[in-house]
Amino acid sequence: MSTSQIEFHRVSFRYSDDQPWVLDDVSFTINKDEWVAIIGHNGSGKSTMAKLMNGLLMPDKGDIIVDGIKVTQKSIWEVRQKVGMVFQNPDNQFVGTTVRDDVAFGLENRGIKREQMLRRIEESLKAVRMSDYLLHEPHRLSGGQKQRVAIAGVLAIAPDVMILDEATSMLDPKGRKEILHTINEVKQLNKLNLITITHDLNEIIATDRVIVMNRGQVWLETTPRELFSDEQKLLEIGLDVPFVAKLANQLKDLAIEIKPQPLNQKELLDALWTLYFNK
C-alpha cells in the first residue's frame, strides 16, 4: 500500500477553451491520515481543486489519482465512495425534508439496506451531536446545525477523505466555532483524511500541512507555524494572518523573540510567561 491518498500530477484546468487557466500545472501529494489546508484568496483555484478531487470536474491536462485510482468518467462513482464533500452554502446541499432523510440520501444512493442505514444515521448524527434533531426540517435549523448535518451525511458513507470546501464561510462566528469544534472531534474519532479549503487562516491552525494557492499555482507548501511567521509574504497574495500570529510577529519586531511561532492564545501566553520568568 502506498502512503499517498490524493495525487495531482501536472494538472491544468479551465472552464472553457476561451478562458484563462484556473489551475496551471499543479502537482502535489496528500498523504493518508494527513489534515491538509488549501488556502488562497478568491479565484486562486482552490475550490476548483476540490471539485477535481471527486470528479465533479475533469482535468484538461494531467492526472489525478485518488487512493490508487485514476479519476476518469468511468471511475467517478468509485472515487466518490472514497471522497466526501461539504460545500459552502448550508441550504443548497440539504436534500432531504428532515435531518434523518438528508443523512440517508448518500446511503440511499449507494443502495444500503434499511436496517444498516438507520444504524449509520444514528452513529453519524451522534458524532456531530445532532441526534436530538433527527426529525427536524431544515428551516428549523441554524446554518451551523445544517453544516453539521452535512458533515454527518459525509461521515455516514464512511469515506477516506472529507473535503470541507469553504464550509464555514457563510456562517456567523458562533456557527463557525461550532463547525471547527465538530471537525476537530470528528478528526480525533475517525481515521480520516481531512482537506480544509478556506481563506480564513484561523481555520488552518490545527492542520498538519498547508498548501497556499495563488493564481492557479501552488505558491507554497508549508506548516501553519512557519506560514504564520512570514506575515509579509502572506500579505503579498492578499491573505491576513490571525491575531495571535500578528501579535507574535510584532513582538519579534521589538526584539522579543517567541519560539516556536505560537498557533493559539495558549501557546502565546505560555511563551510570554516563560519569557517573563526567564528575565
Partner: protein
C-alpha cells in the same frame, strides 16, 4: 417566525386516520370521488354522508377547524345550489321568487349536486389534513411504480416533488428577505393603484428566480457529490407498510361501496 411555516394543511395527531398507510388513503379518496357519482337517492346519499362524517370524526381534528378549512368552497356549493334551483324545470311548481318559478325537482337536484360537491371536498381535505406532503409523495411513487415499465419517470417525479417540498420554506424565507431589502430601497408593495403594485412585484421576482436557479445548480452538484446517479439501485429509508389497520379500513370501504349499490335505485 420560520418555525411556524407549515406546508399544506397537515394537522399532526395520532388518530386512526392519521396512522393509515397513505396509499390506502389516496386510493380510497380516489375511488370515493368516482363512487359519489353513483348515489342517486336519499338513502345512498345518506349512506355516503355517514361514511364521510364518521371519517371526519375519526381524525380527531376539531370539526370547527375542518369546516373553516372548507370556507372557500362554501361559495361554490351555494352557487351550484342556486344555479340548479333556477335552471331546472322538473316536477311541480312550489312557489315563485321575483316571478321565477321554483320547481320541486330543482330543489332536489340542487340539494343533491351541492351535497355531492361537499362530500368530494370533505373527503379530499381529510386526506391532506391527516397526511404529510412527503407521505403523499411516497404513496404516489409506490402507486405509480408499475408505470416504470412504460418508461414513465416515477422516481424522478417523486424526487422532484420532495425537493420542491423541502425548498418551499427556504424560498419563502428568501422572498421575505428580498421584499424587505426592496422595501428598504423604496419599493412600495402595499399601496397605490393595482398596476403599480403589480409592477412592484417585478424587482421581487427577478432576484428570487435568479437565486432559485443558482440554488438548483449547487444542489445538483451536491447531490452528485453524494453519489446520486438516478433511481437505479437505490434503496429507500422511508418505508410504507400495509398493516392490519389498513386491511380493516379497506374492508370497511368495500362494505360502504357494496351498501351504496344496494341502496341506490
Amino acid at each position: 417566525m420560520s418555525s411556524k411555516i407549515i406546508i399544506g394543511q397537515y394537522v399532526p395527531s395520532n388518530s386512526v386516520i392519521h396512522r393509515l398507510d397513505p396509499r390506502v388513503k389516496l386510493v380510497t379518496v380516489f375511488l370515493f370521488v368516482i363512487f359519489v357519482f353513483f348515489a342517486n337517492n336519499t338513502l345512498s346519499y345518506g349512506w355516503l354522508s355517514v361514511f364521510a362524517i364518521t371519517s371526519a370524526l375519526l381524525t380527531k381534528i376539531n370539526l370547527k377547524y375542518i369546516i373553516r378549512g372548507l370556507t372557500p368552497i362554501w361559495f361554490l356549493v351555494i352557487f351550484t345550489f342556486l344555479l340548479h334551483l333556477f335552471v331546472t324545470h322538473e316536477g311541480q311548481i312550489l312557489f315563485q321568487i321575483f316571478g321565477l318559478p321554483i320547481y320541486s325537482g330543482a330543489l332536489i337536484q340542487g340539494g343533491a349536486i351541492s351535497l355531492r360537491f361537499f362530500l368530494l371536498i370533505l373527503m379530499t381535505s381529510l386526506m391532506t389534513l391527516t397526511t404529510t406532503p412527503i407521505e403523499i409523495t411516497d404513496a404516489i411513487e409506490l402507486l405509480l411504480h408499475p408505470l416504470k415499465k412504460i418508461k414513465f419517470p416515477v422516481h424522478e417525479l417523486a424526487l422532484m416533488m420532495s425537493i420542491s417540498l423541502r425548498f418551499i420554506p427556504t424560498l419563502m424565507q428568501e422572498t421575505e428577505k428580498i421584499s424587505k431589502a426592496q422595501a428598504s430601497r423604496g419599493v412600495d408593495f402595499k399601496t397605490g393603484p393595482l398596476k403599480e403594485r403589480i409592477q412592484a412585484v417585478v424587482p421581487l421576482l427577478i432576484p428570487l428566480f435568479v437565486g432559485a436557479f443558482k440554488r438548483a445548480e449547487e444542489l445538483a452538484m451536491a447531490m452528485e457529490a453524494r453519489g446520486y446517479q438516478g433511481g437505479e439501485g437505490r434503496t429507500k429509508l422511508r418505508e410504507l407498510s400495509i398493516r392490519r389497520l389498513d386491511w380493516s379500513a379497506m374492508l370497511v370501504f368495500l362494505v360502504v361501496i357494496i351498501g351504496l349499490f344496494l341502496f341506490r335505485q
